[in-house]
């Protein structure tokens, strides 16, 4: 049997679990059964996908199922690109299911989560495997709807309902754009199979329109600014392991859709496409991370940070398009490898961080950073895992986040050879924005870890928190191990990505597995090289050298005492720095421009005993400028049209008649 057939069986199993969960949902053992089975199915799918990638099997022949459009059928196929994304999807799926076994026990409404969870996994797999426009769109919409159902799991919370509403609108808008894009791609002849589309590449007049539509469609799903508004609302609303899947994996499926259409189906790129991608990528990176810094809600903060990472991925993709348009295949391969590596990395550490946030939520019932504190004492393993995730996402060596960032910087550094002036100006600027956002990510995660896990407990719920169950810990520690491995041995990941790069841009990075000492050398050794393993060994050696020397020859005496704090320790934990106060300097520097942040201090008059107040006002300009007017117009129009609802039957009939006459007139004029 081919890999495609085996994977389709796994997906069918996931769908069957989903159906079974409907029947089982009220049973006691349902959580264990459903998540356990989903975990097994995902793990099997992961094994198949991994085998496909490692064996470099290239393309598996397509399988056509007699579903969907009768004259088309549903085509499914795996090539090097979808193989990579299948690994990401099923890795995230298996870990989230494992985590769910423990986490799901605390679910208040399991019947609203269990049936949709395996279906969500199946939907993401199907999108990546689809090989014709019809099944792609169908699976895409299926994925959106099932994830919407998961967002609405706790629908009694008004905030969640609003999140689900906005998500539904933007997801439908995105699918509509993709539908139009595929319509243009297929052309008047209407060949909807990807192989037919690939041959009939659209003309240069249509290609920009399709690019714009794909950017709107896939970009809105991925969370590109300014189409990101739904993401920080919807991702946190879902149960935490679903949030991990939505942020870590579903945004990657959107990136897959973008790559599939723009790099594979759309034909040869033009250089200015890169400008568009670089522009939106950089503003997403910067706005995403600055918004994340301003948040107090842990899960919402993580969702905003997803937007930043998507921005970095799109910067890499933009560079790859720019190089590809100028026939610099090796540079395009470098940029694309960086982007795909970041896809993989982000799936790892963002899932890890969301699972960590879920563990905190489980142990304390809190999402608000300013009520946490000192969790490192109560939940040491979770704290360790979360710290590893924070280090990885902050792009600090020797973990994995740094490698993809380093590769992207290397791609920026080869771009002065690009001939177009527009790119010459925009690429270094995008590089600077990326460097700026990387530094801000570190600031953001210092804030998160410092406030949530360090310091003293700010509420009783936190002071009495207990470490979470073993399944959750296993899922988190698994991600930690992968983050470390991908950081220390990046060469193997790069080699796994190489066939996809070869497929899409016609070149690949040199094979890294045989470079001495397991370094990575993307271009040439004289130009740049990095060895995570050696850097890690050096750090480990120097640190232990210092420890041993000091403990052996100096002293190892230690005494516990009250905190010093310059002689004035304050016993009340609420006097500690909060998340808002840690972010305050950065808010002052960047926020006054971007969020029109205003600080107000209300000082009572002398003699007045009321408390002084400090208030911060921030505005969401993207919502106010981009979305509020549209919402206003729609609301106004709906109000006007509301009258049409209460007409007599005669009026309705005359309306129907008028519409018919109008349409016929249009037809006459048209023909």
């Amino acid at each position: 049997m081919t890999a495609v057939a085996l994977l389709l069986i796994c997906i069918a199993a996931l769908l069957a679990i989903s159906v079974g969960a409907v029947a089982l949902a009220r049973a006691k053992a349902a959580t264990l059964l459903v998540y356990g089975a989903a975990c097994a199915a995902s793990a099997a799918a992961l094994a198949i996908a991994l085998w496909h990638v490692i064996a470099a099997a290239g393309e598996s022949p397509a399988i056509v199922l007699p579903l969907g459009l009768p004259w088309l059928g549903a085509h499914f196929r795996i090539d090097a690109l979808s193989g990579l994304f299948l690994v990401v999807v099923n890795l995230g799926g298996a870990a989230a299911s494992l985590y769910g076994i423990g986490y799901g026990r605390h679910e208040s409404a399991p019947a609203r989560v269990l049936p949709f969870f395996p279906a969500f996994l199946a939907g993401m797999n199907l999108v990546v495997m689809a090989d014709d426009a019809f099944s792609f769109l169908l699976c895409w919409e299926f994925m959106s709807l099932v994830s919407w159902a998961l967002v609405m799991a706790h629908h009694r919370d008004a905030e969640n309902t609003r999140a689900g509403y906005i998500y539904l609108i933007i997801a439908s808008f995105g699918t509509l754009c993709l539908l139009l894009a595929f319509g243009l791609l297929a052309g008047p002849a209407g060949g909807y199979g990807f192989d037919e589309i690939r041959i009939a590449a659209p003309g240069s007049a249509l290609a920009p329109v399709i690019l714009a539509l794909v950017l709107l469609g896939a970009g809105s799903k991925a969370g590109l600014v300014p189409l990101h508004v739904w993401l920080p609302l919807a991702h946190p609303a879902a149960p935490s392991h679903v949030s991990a899947l939505m942020s870590g994996v579903m945004t990657k499926v959107a990136v897959y859709g973008f790559i599939r259409i723009v790099f594979d189906l759309l034909g040869p790129p033009e250089w200015w496409w890169a400008m568009v991608l670089l522009f939106f990528g950089s503003i997403s990176a910067l706005i995403g991370i600055l918004s994340a810094l301003m948040q107090q809600d842990l899960k919402r903060l993580l969702a905003f940070s997803t937007i930043e990472n998507i921005g970095i991925i799109f910067i890499g993709l933009g560079l790859a398009l720019g190089f590809g348009a100028n026939a610099m295949e090796w540079a395009a391969a470098l940029a694309l490898t960086a982007a795909l590596f970041h896809v993989f990395n982000h799936a790892l550490f963002k899932s890890l961080l969301f699972l960590g946030a879920g563990a905190i939520l489980n142990a304390t019932g809190l999402r608000d950073l300013d009520k946490m504190g000192g969790l490192i004492h109560r939940m040491p393993v979770t704290a360790f895992a979360f710290l590893a995730g924070a280090v990885a996402i902050s792009a600090l060596p020797p973990l994995n986040g740094f490698v993809s960032e380093w590769l992207t910087f290397q791609a920026v550094l080869v771009s002065p050879e690009l001939p177009q002036w527009g790119l010459k100006v925009l690429v270094p600027t995008a590089g600077a924005m990326m460097a700026l956002s990387a530094a801000l990510v570190a600031a953001c995660f210092v804030k998160v870890f410092g406030i949530a896990f360090l310091g003293r407990a700010r509420s009783t719920a936190v002071a009495e928190a207990k470490e979470v169950d073993r399944f959750s810990l296993a899922a988190m520690l698994g991600f930690v191990a992968l983050c470390v491995l991908a950081g220390l041995l990046p060469g193997f990941v790069i080699d796994a990505i190489a066939p996809a790069a070869e497929l899409l841009v016609g070149a690949r990075l040199p094979t890294q597995a045989y470079v001495p000492w397991l370094s990575i050398v993307p271009v040439a050794e004289a130009r740049s090289s990095y060895n995570g393993l050696l850097v890690f060994a050096f750090i480990a050696f120097s640190a232990s050298f210092a420890v041993v020397l000091i403990h052996r020859f100096a002293t190892r005496a230690i005494r516990r005492s009250a905190p010093w704090d310059c002689g004035f320790p304050d016993p009340s934990p609420i006097t500690q720095y909060t998340g808002g106060s840690v972010a305050q300097p950065i808010r002052r520097v960047f926020g006054s421009l971007l969020f029109l942040a205003r600080e107000q201090v209300e000082m009572p008059q002398p003699g007045d005993t009321s408390a002084a107040r400090f208030r911060v006002e921030m505005r969401d300009l993207i919502w106010e400028i981009g979305y509020a007017p549209i919402a206003g117009i729609v609301g106004y129009a709906a109000d006007r049209l509301n009258r049409m609802q209460f007409l007599t039957i005669r009026r309705y009939l005359s309306l129907v008649f008028l519409a018919l006459v109008g349409l016929l007139l249009v037809l006459v004029v048209w023909l």
């Binding site: 060895n531 850097v535 005496a557 516990r560 310059c566 300097p585």
Partner: protein, 318 residues
């Protein structure tokens, strides 16, 4: 044989930076005192301070976590590795290919990440204030530094520091506008990163303007010694970096004879002395800034560095 010689040079380099770092700080302190017509502590005082701290018991706050106790060693290790990768008296270090300039910047970022976390661990307001200001400063200094790295890498065609230093030494560089801009930016970043005046004041305590000292306030004994050593190393790293890129004279090439290494060593010590003296003069001549003026200072550094990179993208000759 060649491998052993390379290993010796690399090992020697690691020891040299570790041993010279306190001396450089001692020199800066002495010079500053002399410029103020004070006698000042002896040159070797930092060594004595370190030894004294190492022998004392460490007093740790009751609610400090394991992170508080391992952070000093991580900070020290990351800074030491970064400092050992910058060519001092010789280029072509054995392990220079394992990490390029971007990695060196990122290693310093790792050290800062853990330092800021350690500052927040005990849950005191001083730790929080130090950490939040440190990350604000870093959020502007780090991109500026990356832009400087970009400029150097574009000029030399490599991000490997050894290759960059070798290229600067080769004389084919000449005077360039972009180099000048990035030198200014690098100096500004170096001042901010090392918590020197006008950004921070390494000599104050009990003052609301302090950043670095606020974060390490809870540390004592050997932990404090290790953190101090890391900050000495960081100062040395920046002086060596500026020296090896903008004043590469005298640096021994890989595989050169013993005489070249001796000359390289002498030149390196001379560069450190000049760097230290210039820093002391600069610090004496200028006043400390308000914290919220620092972003303007570092924003200027970022803009200069970005301008230099843009120039390099426009024309390869400027």
């Amino acid at each position: 044989m060649a491998v052993i010689a390379d290993l010796l040079v690399q090992g020697g380099q690691m020891l040299v930076v570790l041993l010279l770092a306190p001396l450089l700080t001692g020199l800066v302190r002495k010079m500053k005192a002399r410029l103020l017509r004070r006698q000042g502590p002896p040159l070797l005082q930092p060594y004595r301070d370190l030894l004294r701290l190492l022998r004392k018991e460490a007093v740790v706050a009751e609610n400090a976590s394991w992170l508080f106790r391992i952070a000093p060693y991580l900070i020290f290790a990351a800074t030491w590795v970064a400092a050992a990768l910058v060519p001092t008296f010789a280029t072509g270090l054995m392990f220079s290919w394992s990490a390029d300039l971007i990695v060196i910047v990122a290693l310093l970022g790792s050290a800062r990440f853990f330092l800021a976390l350690a500052g927040m661990d005990v849950g005191t307001s001083f730790g929080g204030i130090g950490a939040s200001r440190e990350v604000m400063i870093a959020s502007l200094a780090e991109p500026a530094m990356i832009m400087v790295v970009f400029t150097l890498a574009l000029i030399a065609g490599s991000t490997q520091l050894s290759t960059v230093a070798g290229y600067m030494l080769s004389g084919g560089v000449g005077l360039r506008v972009s180099l000048g801009l990035s030198l200014v930016a690098l100096l500004m970043v170096a001042i901010a990163e090392n918590a020197r005046i006008p950004v921070d004041n390494p000599a104050t305590h009990l003052e609301l303007t302090m950043v670095h000292e606020a974060m390490v306030l809870e540390y004592s004994g050997r932990h404090l010694a290790v953190i101090e050593a890391a900050s000495f190393l960081k100062l040395l790293l920046y002086v060596s970096l500026i020296g090896s890129v903008f004043a590469p004279w005298g640096v021994a090439q890989a595989g050169a004879g013993l005489a070249a290494y001796v000359i390289g060593g002498a030149a390196y010590v001379a560069k450190l002395a000049v760097g230290g003296i210039l820093l002391a003069v600069f610090e004496t001549a200028i006043a400390k800034m308000r914290v919220f003026r620092v972003p303007e200072f570092l924003g200027a550094a970022l803009m200069l560095a970005l301008l230099a990179t843009l120039l390099m993208f426009m024309t390869r000759s400027l």
